[in-house]
Symmetry: C2
DNA sequence: TCGGGATTAGTCAAGCTTGACTAATAGCCC
DNA sequence: GGGCTATTAGTCAAGCTTGACTAATCCCGA
């Protein structure tokens, strides 16, 4: 949530709640994350309270509706955004929605850093899978464990699959895919006009 | 949470909060789900309020500590447990912790039903992956989409991996693995004595 | 011109999660 | 036998999420 909201405000430079809300809806975020109006407005207020966002008092609406509050990232907000982004890409135990958000903002990092974070991710996933495997399969025959071993299988399977995807992304980045931070022309971050939203 | 708490109470027939809490801790649930004391006690109260659990008033503690409340599943609680369990196994979009809990309770279902639910799961995963793939890759060359396509890749990758794990489990169940509901002798549902908890 | 629907913008209560705290008794050590 | 700690059992405030609701203005058709 914080990552999403900070990222959305950041792309606009200055944004009010409804703008953020629309961006996130456009990204399909209400489908794969907890980005619903209540959460968004709550996050904005909370982030402002914590000094990560600066709230510019109620500007009169330019196009109907009640007055609105505009927000802008502070220095601390900028730092927090990148800290969240880095953690989300590096850690193996973040929720899938957090990872998804992070991938959405990955082009805000320099290429070398993104690659290095993703390599940390692969390492973390592998060592975690290995840890689960050794802890859950001691000397005893797995049969004794009963169906609980299936949970172990599920997790290691997931971790390996995730590592596979990550390796693929690393390779594409190493081959120069996408325009990353500091590489000139910024690409559009929204979908082309007229394209349907598949998450509905 | 509801699934976990109902399942834990159900295994004891009648249990108080601390027992549930200890079971879940033993299963490592505090690591892979939101099963922390606050949530557990909250869930117990909420479930009791909704008539899924019956609260037997404060019995004096047998071994130190404040008095405690004992809970027992009602008819509705029993139904709700199985409804949650079936949904968790069948649906492709449940969180990983919910799926994990469901796998932990899968032996409470008859073998044939479990297999059939898991087959529904595979079908749901495949059709969802296909949907994402077709919606996100129209005629236009993928390059135009920029890095957002990576999110699509992440999801389809995950769905395929999940389907793979599910197919494996189906196969093991079809080959007679584990003791399911209505198959005589119930196996132990907890870890053997002295085995360390790997989630720490 | 006026009334009703769409759009814009946000609030609110109820439920859930988190992490830190409280409280009661039992057992042990000196 | 008095105090210290471990265990047992649970509470609480603050934050987060959900789904339904409110409120102001614009626009279009009769």
């Amino acid at each position: 949530m914080r990552l999403l909201v900070l990222g959305a405000v950041r792309q606009h430079g200055r944004a009010h709640g409804y703008q953020v809300r629309n961006d996130l809806e456009f990204w399909g975020a209400h489908e794969w994350s907890t980005a619903k109006p209540g959460s968004i407005y709550h996050a904005l207020k909370q982030l402002a309270k914590e000094g990560l966002l600066l709230a510019h008092e109620v500007a009169p609406s330019t196009a109907g509706g009640p007055p609105r509050v505009e927000y802008e990232l502070t220095e601390a907000g900028e730092e927090s955004f990148f800290a969240l982004l880095r953690t989300a890409l590096r850690a193996h135990d973040e929720r899938i929605d957090v990872l998804t958000s992070a991938v959405g903002f990955i082009v805000d990092l320099p290429r070398a850093e993104a690659i290095s974070l993703l390599k940390e991710r692969v390492a973390a996933l592998e060592s975690w899978a290995e840890e689960v495997r050794t802890h859950w399969t001691p000397d005893s025959p797995p049969a004794e464990w009963g169906h609980i071993g299936e949970i172990m299988r599920l997790w290691t399977h997931q971790a390996e699959s995730d590592a596979g995807w990550t390796r693929g992304l690393i390779e594409r980045l190493e081959n120069g895919a996408y325009v990353m931070a500091g590489e000139g022309e910024r690409e559009v971050t929204v979908l082309p006009e007229g394209t349907g939203n598949p998450f509905s």
